[in-house]
């Protein structure tokens, strides 16, 4: 059994690039790319978008429809603090 207090107030942080893909049937899907480069630009995302549109590596999960491209790409920085829940 681990000690809850041992983890109290532990702070961790992470950064992800949250990419939302659109599909022809109107469906969307999001996944997180870990540790995006610092100087990421819209042209970087556009280049990926172009490659995906040409090669169609992903399909929609409802009807297998083609990808219409990237709807949005958002850099998300997240900080987690584990709280002391021992009550002492």
């Amino acid at each position: 059994m681990f000690d809850i207090q041992k983890f109290a107030d532990t702070v961790t942080s992470s950064t992800n690039l949250k990419i939302e893909w659109g599909f022809e049937d109107g469906d969307t899907r999001t996944f997180n790319l870990p540790n995006p480069i610092d100087e990421i630009s819209s042209s970087d995302v556009a280049a990926l978008n172009t490659w995906v549109a040409t090669n169609q590596p992903i399909v929609g999960d409802k009807s297998g429809s083609s990808s219409t491209g990237i709807n949005s790409a958002i850099k998300v920085e997240q900080t987690k603090t584990k709280l002391d829940i021992s009550g002492e």
Partner: protein
């Protein structure tokens, strides 16, 4: 059937990250998928470590649903090292959890099941390194009676010719020649191979289940020989395997595979058979 991509990457501190991209276009060549992973990680500071294609298919189990729960999990995993809490929690939900990995894993540190019913193993490999498993694997997670999903995860570069003794065991079990098995592998039909293999195993385990009974008068769990079954399991068990009783009060105990009767001390008791592939079948009392 659905195909997804599991991309493992590492950061500067050599922490491992898994990125799953679900619903990959099945008509895409492996090289295209690999390039897709490369393109994605051009936007990341992480270094690409491996790319695995995961294929999942649903299989309808024509046999009546067994009344108990049972489980297989990776061979060569030290049973004592498996996270029993997670494992029993999965069983406790009334689910049947099956997982096969033909090799490479020494111990499982953590088991998680994601929304797509994939089982992720955080594990220690035989070389002592600890990482999320990305070698060949097959996992089944059953949630609905009579229906279960098979997940095969393999490296993009699947060996074209079976060279491991495990292929002989699989071929024998599903009743095909080694050359036929090689042809199926070359045709990228490992999912069918595993499905047939698991179906054969399930029949064995359903038979084996008949050997296990609870004796209320003595509060004991008892395992009896069953005609036509004992010999098969005896042969297998004498080959490499073992026969274990897991009790949440006393832990694991290896017992005589041909007959056993012992006191039940805990709330949860699991009878485990290990076949010659080193795959365990747990029969929960």
């Amino acid at each position: 059937m659905a195909t997804s991509l599991k991309i493992e990457s590492i950061d500067g501190a050599r922490n491992t990250y898994n990125t799953n991209v679900n619903y990959i276009n099945e008509s895409c060549a492996d090289g295209t998928l690999r390039t897709f992973a490369d393109k994605l990680f051009e936007l990341s500071n992480n270094t690409l470590n491996s790319v695995a294609k995961i294929t999942t298919t649903d299989i309808t189990n024509a046999e009546p649903e067994p009344t108990g729960n049972y489980a297989l999990w990776t061979p060569s995993a030290e049973f004592y090292d498996i996270n029993n809490v997670d494992f029993m929690n999965l069983l406790g939900d009334g689910n049947r959890v099956l997982a096969i990995d033909p090799g490479g894993i020494k111990a499982i540190n953590n088991i998680t099941v994601d929304d797509d019913m994939f089982i992720d193993f955080e594990c220690t490999l035989n070389d002592g390194s600890t990482k999320t498993k990305h070698q060949t694997s097959c996992a089944i997670f059953n949630q609905k009676p009579g229906r279960f999903a098979v997940t095969v995860e393999d490296e993009i570069q699947w060996p074209s010719i079976p060279s491991s003794p495990k292929y002989s065991v699989i071929a024998q079990k599903i009743g095909i020649s080694l050359s036929d098995l090689a042809e199926m592998i070359q045709q990228n039909k490992m999912i069918q191979v595993y499905a047939q293999y698991i179906s054969a195993l399930m029949a064995d385990y359903d038979n084996a289940r008949q050997r296990v009974s609870y004796v209320p008068a003595t509060n004991s769990i008892r395992v009896d020989p069953v005609e036509g079954v004992t010999e098969n399991f005896g042969v297998q068990l004498n080959y490499t395997g073992g026969f274990y009783i897991w009790d949440d009060k006393i832990g694991v105990e290896e017992v005589d595979p041909n007959y056993y009767e012992g006191k039940v001390l805990g709330q949860n008791v699991t009878v485990i058979l290990e076949d010659k592939l080193g795959i365990f079948a747990g029969l929960k009392s």
